[in-house]
């Protein structure tokens, strides 16, 4: 994310304008979609004024302002000198809080795909280039709310690669479409009325899923709308009984808001995911936990666990419900993101490094995979084991040394190098000399001579552009729980390494901010009933223990050997490193 104030164009990565158009597709407008970091509206069409003008600045004074500069997106090379063109808020206008994104009653689905989300996304991504059929600029950020309801005659989208959200090039708004589909009507004076029947208070699952489908499937292998994969979806859509006539259709389901309700403040109730997220002070506030519903005497009519062998206090005080009731995942999830080879992300899913045998990740059966385990404080104050997917990330950074005067790395930090700068260096392809050592058809940077090659190029390419003027720094590879650095010159220097794992004793645990090569993504959905949960003593109380302590977790996708073989650690080692104390310790 670009800083508000910068001194060189090379310092600017994703600016606010880019964020709204590219990332705002999954955010409901308002906040950073409307206001700059001084609290001024980026552009006010009523006064025809930019936010910086409202505080007396001219366009020439905000060329390096992270709110008013624009860096084109992924894959777009920057011209010589790296100038930043201005953000054309005057064409896009702003992204207002999109009430109907969540509160529209009608949902147009194509399978699990929410077409309302697709239409809104396409319009947002049109950015300053969206036109109507007459060639007039369409204010894309503002018009996305209209497009998302399907109120258009024409929405032309440019061809996109699989997995890349669509981008609209042409949009012809038509409120007659809304009249035809029953959301809108004409008033007595010819004004368009949004009918009250088109509005719903509690968002339907499809509204949530529009934004959450892509990241949650990708990061957590989460699925929805499948009664066989989630006992709560089945129950809350009334599919648990023998009467199919009362089943709630997927597009009508409001199951999400049973556990994730919200009041007028719109702080949607949330749990406490491992990954660093917003509003951590509101964790569990109004959130409906497993224990809220399934405790003896609960007011919800939810089944209470009766099997005392498994639900004994010794288990329940240390092990979360999710450990046994989300035993494995049968959808692939993203497990590794390699940003080091070319600056274009290479992604590997779980099938590349895990298997249906939690003790043997190389096994041929890839029909499912088993999560890692981490510890955190639960809603009731107990510290418990929870499942998560540990996402490995490989990236280049600039290593800044701390100033405590001690020969340690405790006060050092590594600033990630923006990927557009890596692409500028590599041309978007592996450097000559980097090879595919593990034979999977994709190049990886793992051997010392490959690391030396890249660091030498980084020193030559970025060093002359002063990544951070005046500061001592060098370039390093962050991979597999280690920082890999070059001691010496690019010809004869030695590649060294040091561990970077978080220090639980210092209270720094999985914050993902200072320096990490892996981030756990909580796995809390797709809860299974007793019949398909872990229900076998020997799955845990055996050595090695596949269901709890000895399953293999990916530590380093590409080891330093000539075959780039992955390195693993056990869940026992992961949790011990995080400070978890096992019984008897």
């Amino acid at each position: 994310m670009a800083a508000k104030s910068n001194t060189e164009a090379t310092q600017i990565d994703k600016s606010s304008f880019f964020w709204v158009g590219a990332c705002g597709i999954c955010h409901p407008g308002g906040g950073a979609g409307e206001y700059d970091r001084y609290g001024k509206k980026y552009f006010d069409p009523r006064s025809d004024q930019f936010g910086f003008e409202a505080i007396g600045l001219a366009a020439t004074q905000v060329g390096l302002d992270g709110d008013y500069a624009f860096v084109p997106g992924s894959g777009v090379p920057r011209p010589a000198g790296h100038p930043t063109p201005p953000a054309e808020w005057n064409k896009t206008w702003t992204s207002e809080p999109d009430c109907m994104l969540c509160h529209a009653d009608q949902r147009v689905l194509n399978g699990e795909m929410n077409l309302n989300w697709v239409w809104r996304t396409a319009a947002m991504r049109g950015m300053a280039n969206l036109k109507d059929s007459a060639g007039n600029t369409v204010h894309s950020y503002m018009a996305a709310s209209t497009a998302g309801q399907g109120w258009f005659d024409t929405l032309e989208m440019a061809p996109s690669q699989p997995g890349v959200p669509p981008t609209a090039t042409k949009l012809d708004i038509s409120y007659r479409k809304g009249i035809a589909n029953g959301q809108l009507a004409l008033g007595v004076a010819g004004e368009v009325m949004l009918l009250g029947t088109a509005v719903v208070d509690r968002p339907r699952d499809a509204a949530c899923w529009g934004c959450h489908a892509t990241p949650d499937l990708k990061k957590r292998a989460r699925t929805w709308f499948d009664p066989d994969r989630d006992v709560h979806y089945r129950r809350f859509t009334l599919r648990h009984d023998a009467d199919p006539s009362n089943d709630i259709a997927p597009e009508r389901s409001q199951a999400c808001t049973v556990c994730h309700p919200a009041g007028y403040d719109h702080h949607i109730a949330k749990g406490d995911p491992f990954e660093d997220t917003v509003a951590s002070d509101r964790n569990y506030e109004d959130f409906v936990t497993c224990r809220d519903c399934h405790a003896p005497g609960n007011a919800y009519g939810a089944p209470v666990p009766t099997d005392q062998e498994f639900h004994r206090p010794g288990h329940l005080e240390r092990i979360s419900c999710q450990v046994c009731h989300i035993p494995s995942k049968d959808k692939a999830a993203q497990l590794v993101v390699d940003n080091a080879v070319s600056g274009v992300s290479t992604e590997y899913d779980t099938a590349a490094f895990l298997s249906a045998d939690p003790l043997d990740p190389a096994a041929a059966d890839k029909s499912r995979w088993y999560p890692s385990y981490h510890v955190k404080q639960d809603a009731d104050g107990h510290e418990r084991i929870f499942p998560a997917k540990l996402l490995n990330v490989v990236w280049w950074g600039a290593w800044y040394h701390g100033d405590d005067g001690l020969p340690n790395t405790a006060d050092d930090f590594v600033r990630p190098i923006a990927l557009w700068r890596i692409r500028a260096m590599t041309g978007g392809a592996p450097l000559s000399g980097a090879t595919d050592d593990n034979g999977d058809g994709r190049v990886e940077i793992n051997r010392p001579d490959e690391i030396r090659l890249y660091i030498a190029r980084l020193r030559g390419d970025l060093g002359t552009r002063r990544v951070h003027p005046g500061d001592p720094h060098d370039y390093v590879l962050v991979k597999g729980g280690k920082v890999w650095w070059l001691d010496g010159d690019g010809q004869t220097g030695t590649v060294n390494e040091f561990e970077l794992h978080a220090d639980a004793s210092a209270g720094v645990r999985w914050q993902g901010a200072k320096l990490e090569s892996a981030v756990p993504f909580s796995i809390d959905h797709n809860v299974l009933a007793k019949s398909t949960a872990f229900a076998d003593c020997a799955g845990c109380h055996v050595s090695p223990s596949p269901n709890l302590l000895d399953r293999k977790v990916l530590l380093d996708p590409f080891g330093p050997d000539d075959q780039a073989q992955p390195r693993y650690e056990t869940t026992r080692e992961v949790m011990a490193r995080e400070g978890f104390r096992f019984l008897g310790q």
Binding site: M1, A3, K4, S5, T7, Q11, S16, W19, C23, G30, G31, G33, R37, E96, P97, D98, C99, H139, S145, W151, I173, Y175, R176, E191, V192, M193, L194, G196, T197, V199, V200, D201, R202, F236, L238, I248, Q254, A255, V258, P261, A262, G263, Y264, D265, H266, I268, D276, T277, V278, D281, R282, G297, A299, Y300, G301, F413, R415, H468, G512, A513
Partner: protein, 119 residues
């Protein structure tokens, strides 16, 4: 044990909607999932308006403005203070995350815990 927070009434407080709140509150007499997913809801018809607050017609080609349309009854600024809207720009008290204003040479990597500032 907490009661289900859905029983906080969701809706705008105004002369138009107050009777609806009574209706909604009365409907929340049971706390089973079946009753939660079948709560009734009523909203009045409203005029769709553009960014200038002008009523749109069937032939309008301007986008509608949620602020001008919904904001005539609802406190959009209060609603947009919710963390889903802010995505790390502000904290729960509405204050801008100070890291977002740090000059580049004082940054580390993450400017906020949310998507606005995290990447």
């Amino acid at each position: 044990m907490r009661t289900h927070p859905k029983f906080r009434v969701v809706g705008a407080v105004s002369a138009w909607t107050a009777p609806l709140l009574v209706l909604a509150a009365c409907s929340n007499s049971s706390s089973t999932p079946s009753s939660i997913v079948n709560q009734p809801f009523v909203h009045r018809d409203i005029v769709l308006r553009d960014v200038a607050g002008e009523a749109l017609t069937a032939d309008s080609t301007e986008p509608y403005s949620p602020r001008m349309t919904c904001g005539r009854c609802h406190d959009v600024d209060a609603i947009a203070s919710g963390y889903h809207f802010q995505q790390g720009r502000t904290d729960s008290t509405g204050r801008l995350d100070p890291r977002l204003l740090r000059p580049w040479d004082q940054q580390v990597a993450v400017l906020s815990p949310g998507m606005f500032g995290k990447w």
